[in-house]
């Protein structure tokens, strides 16, 4: 904080004093390019430029700034009397042929601009400097989304560059109400963080809260949006995500139209969407691009899969160990037969296989995709089969564990799956100790935790809880036809609830 409290160093009229100060700050910074040069017919006005090599667009600096200042400006002879009075303006207007520049009187903020890829220009005799936007660092272009792949819909994904990301959103919502507020977070990293929202749709109290939480972050460096997520989320102890991450611009745009806030962080292709409720994590952008019947079916599958991913191993233990009488006799014989040779108790068998599966998953992520699939085959099929043949585990447990894994992969959001993965072990633990009763105790504990969670004031289990009307349920277990979803969800300002004014039924054949 001391940095912020110091009085800013002002630009001096004496160019050498300014140069001494900035060069002192940038001492031993090998990537800095600086030059002091005279301009004018008599070469008596001294200028000084400073920028960081390769973080800037050199063509702009050389063609638009240096060339005009050093050569072109000589062609405009000064008119006696007025020249000195307007020198600064003359240089700015006649010497720099680019629109994006600003004046500054604060040397420290000017240095921050240099660090962001802009060019600093001092003019002797004036107590202000010019910052010319020359950002142009090497960056990855727009590539395909890797973590949220869809069959139908845009293939674009956010990139690491802040500006590319804002463009990807702006291209989708061409509305002057779309606001992008930029702030710098991180005492040393001074990372650009953009708070993007649609002015009249966003709920003002959520926007204020988001800004407050981001402004309160006082850390040396922000390296990824994950940092911001962890600093601004409501409950840090929860294994469930309360903020949604996405790398898809169409998802971010759709969130904005729902009244949510998008937080873009420089140097990461993942943007944050706040607030986020449980149902947001089950939604994929593709859901809205395809026919509603199939997507509703897929939604139900996802919800069931999500539930199974948490309960299946625990339920198996509860029933197989404590209440085998619940299982139909023939199936019970099958299970008993397959478990006959297994030397370890069912509980440890399940935990062992689950942990093996987790290891396999972790190994698969770190490996290149080509080897990753081989690993899947080796780990899943060969080791699994060998373990069953050797009588170390029973086939039913292999089926249960693989099914649990499969279910967890069908949820479109990795962060939610991570939460479920941990919860699964709590259910296993309770079921192992108290059977079906323990299973329900664990489910109740998870339920209490989930209903207690909030994301920026919105209950995490909304609209299953706290909802005042049924229309909030239209986009949950089912994805009703788009024309049925006339209202924006709970995130939006209550004055801007209506999102759709078309009545599809007017031109429906069913009506005629």
């Amino acid at each position: 904080m001391e940095h912020k409290e110091n009085k800013p160093k002002e630009v001096s009229e004496n160019i050498d004093e300014n140069i001494r100060y900035v060069e002192g700050l940038f001492e031993n910074c090998g990537d800095i390019v600086k030059r002091k040069f005279p301009v004018g017919i008599n070469k008596d006005i001294w200028l000084y430029v400073m920028y960081i090599d390769d973080m800037t667009n050199r063509a702009i600096i050389e063609d638009r700034i240096l060339e005009t200042l050093m050569i072109e400006i000589k062609k405009t002879p000064p008119e006696e009397g007025e020249f000195n009075y307007n020198l600064f303006k003359e240089l700015v207007d006649g010497g720099i042929t680019t629109a994006d520049l600003k004046e500054s009187e604060d040397l420290d903020s000017a240095c921050t601009e240099v660090l962001s890829g802009n060019t600093l220009l001092f003019i002797d005799g004036f107590s202000k400097c010019i910052i010319i936007s020359t950002k142009g660092f090497p960056k990855r272009g727009v590539s395909e989304a890797e973590t949220e792949v869809v069959v139908q819909g845009s293939k674009e994904a956010f990139a690491e560059s802040f500006r590319i990301n804002t463009v990807l959103i702006r291209r989708r919502i061409r509305d002057t109400k779309l606001k992008i507020e930029q702030i710098k977070v991180g005492r040393r990293s001074k990372t650009d963080v953009g708070i993007v929202y649609i002015d009249d749709i966003v709920r003002p109290e959520i926007l204020e809260e988001t800004k407050r939480r981001i402004n309160e972050i006082d850390i040396d460096g922000i390296l990824d949006s994950g940092y911001i997520e962890q600093f601004i989320e409501d409950d840090y102890l929860s294994p469930f995500p309360q903020i949604q991450l996405t790398e898809r611009p169409d998802k971010a745009a759709s969130a904005l139209l729902e009244g949510r806030i998008v937080i873009i962080v420089d140097n990461t292709p993942f943007v944050l969407l706040v607030p986020a409720v449980l149902t947001s994590f089950y939604q994929s952008s593709e859901d809205y691009y395809q026919r509603w019947e199939i997507m509703s079916f897929v939604r139900i599958i996802r919800y069931i899969a999500g539930l199974l991913a948490v309960i299946l191993p625990g339920l198996y233990i509860a029933i197989a160990v404590y209440h085998p009488s619940m299982i139909p006799t023939r199936l019970l014989f099958k299970i008993a037969e397959s478990r006959g040779n297994v030397p370890i108790p069912a509980v440890f068998e399940v935990i062992l296989m689950e942990l093996a599966f987790e290891t396999l998953r972790e190994a698969g992520i770190r490996l290149p995709s080509a080897i990753g699939s081989t690993l899947g085959i080796v780990g899943g099929i060969i080791i699994g089969q060998a373990a069953v043949d050797a009588g170390l585990v029973s086939p039913i447990v292999v089926i249960i564990v693989s099914l649990t894994g499969l279910c967890s992969f069908s949820i479109p959001n990795i962060a939610l799956v991570s939460g479920f993965r941990l919860m699964k072990y709590i259910v296993i633990l309770f079921s192992a100790i108290l059977g079906l009763f323990g299973f329900w105790i664990a489910m109740l504990l998870i339920l209490i935790h989930l209903v207690n969670l909030k994301s920026f004031g919105i209950p995490f289990m909304f609209p299953f809880t706290s909802s005042e009307n049924m229309s909030d349920l239209k986009d949950t277990f089912f994805r009703l036809p788009l024309f049925k979803m006339k209202k924006r969800p709970v995130f939006a300002n209550s004055k801007q609830k209506i999102r759709l004014r078309t009545d599809k039924r007017k031109n429906s054949v069913r009506r005629k």
Binding site: Y322, H323, S325, M326, I327, P328, T329, L434, G435, L436, F437, G438, W440, I441, L444, L445, L447, I448, V451, N452, P459, M461, F464, T465, S466, E468
Partner: protein, 372 residues
């Protein structure tokens, strides 16, 4: 936890009432009603429901007069502070005792049906811990939990009772009206006391978002749960017959054992049914711990919430260990319901309302709103 910033909606209040009342009474209502009215026991329940609606209306009318005050405060305004504290203490005792017995009954049933080798105190301890954890989170969270659990509890229950109803022998309900009218009336009054949970209306008002419709909606909730109770009693009598019911300790659970759901995969449905019942008991444990802590805190007005929850849960757990066997538990429960139940469901709200009216205390909600 006890902050009135945690607002609940009228819908949440309704659902909480339904689950609280249902969970308390359902296990032994049919047996008791048959003891009073034989095959006509269901008529007792109808009378009980009518009484229950009146009690709910009285409680809501009383609470409505002091929409922003907690129970201890408004009772203090009506009958002076010391008497209010005595009434509240009685309330807390009633909740603690009946909850302890419920908890013990629950653990005994779980032990009998699904966990044969686990000691019953371990079962009640776990249930109490979860209930207390939920209570610690506050009224709003209780409302949200109930909003989800109502589906988990009632949908499977409707399906199961639907099947039982279709296979029941309704001649068991015959002959109609041959039972002594006084017996039926006594049965009705007793069944009212199993509608324990109605008195929670007295404490809910400061936490309500929309107090205007609360009275009407609370009565509606009581009617809803009353209809379910009537149906369950009718179905139980029809399926098992009045004589069988008298001989069984938990006829409703026995009923579950007779279910044979067509096309189901599972061998034993009672274990599944038990699962939904666990949820239902969770809600009442949660309500009991919450309200006893709430009332104590409002009386003492000091200390951290967690201490109230820990101490009261420990008391409830200790009391639940006292009775030796099931018949003793049932005896104690009967006594609690007949004595405390009568006083707190009907007598106290009624007297407080009359005194408030005579002393012209409190303001109906509409008037308060008009002034604002």
């Amino acid at each position: 936890m006890f902050s009135s910033k945690n607002k609940i909606s009228v819908r949440q209040l309704q659902i909480l009432l339904i689950l609280d009342i249902f969970g308390m009474g359902v296990t032994f209502l049919p047996k008791k009603m048959v003891e009073f009215g034989g095959q006509n026991g269901w008529i007792c329940v109808i009378i009980g429901v009518i009484f229950a609606c009146i009690c709910a209306w009285i409680s809501a009318s009383l609470a409505e007069k002091f929409p922003d005050d907690d129970f201890v405060t408004y009772a203090g305004k009506i009958v002076s502070k010391p008497i209010a504290i005595i009434i509240t203490a009685g309330f807390v005792l009633k909740i603690i005792f009946s909850l302890s017995m419920e908890l013990r009954i629950f653990s005994e049933i779980v032990k009998q049906t699904i966990l044969f080798n686990t000691p019953s105190y371990a079962i009640s301890f776990c249930m109490l811990i979860v209930g207390a954890y939920g209570a610690l989170k506050g009224y709003e969270i209780r409302g949200r939990i109930a909003e989800i659990l109502i589906f988990v509890i009632f949908i499977p229950m409707f399906i199961i009772f639907g099947f039982i109803a279709s296979g029941a022998d309704y001649t068991n309900l015959m002959p109609f009206f041959d039972t002594n009218n006084t017996e039926i009336l006594y049965g009705g009054i007793f069944s009212l006391f199993t509608f324990s949970g109605i008195e929670f209306i007295l404490f809910a008002y400061p936490y309500l978002k929309n107090k205007k419709t609360a009275k009407k909606e609370s009565v509606k909730a009581v009617v809803f749960v009353g209809i379910i109770m009537i149906l369950i009693t009718v179905i139980t009598i029809a399926k098992l017959g009045p004589f069988d019911i008298k001989n069984q300790i938990w006829p409703v659970l026995e009923l579950m054992n007779t279910v044979d759901l067509p096309g189901t995969f599972l061998e034993r449905q009672d274990a599944v049914v038990m699962s939904f019942w666990i949820m239902s008991v969770f809600i009442i444990v949660n309500a009991g711990v919450y309200f006893s802590c709430l009332l104590t805190k409002h009386t003492i007005k000091k200390g951290k919430n967690i201490w109230y929850v820990v101490i009261i849960s420990a008391i409830i757990f200790s009391i639940s260990l006292i009775p030796g066997d099931i018949s003793e538990i049932i005896n104690i429960t009967d006594k609690i319901y007949m004595s405390f139940g009568a006083i707190y469901i009907f007598a106290i709200p009624f007297l407080l309302l009359i005194i408030a009216k005579i002393r012209k205390l409190g303001d109906s909600f509409e008037n308060t709103e008009r002034k604002n």
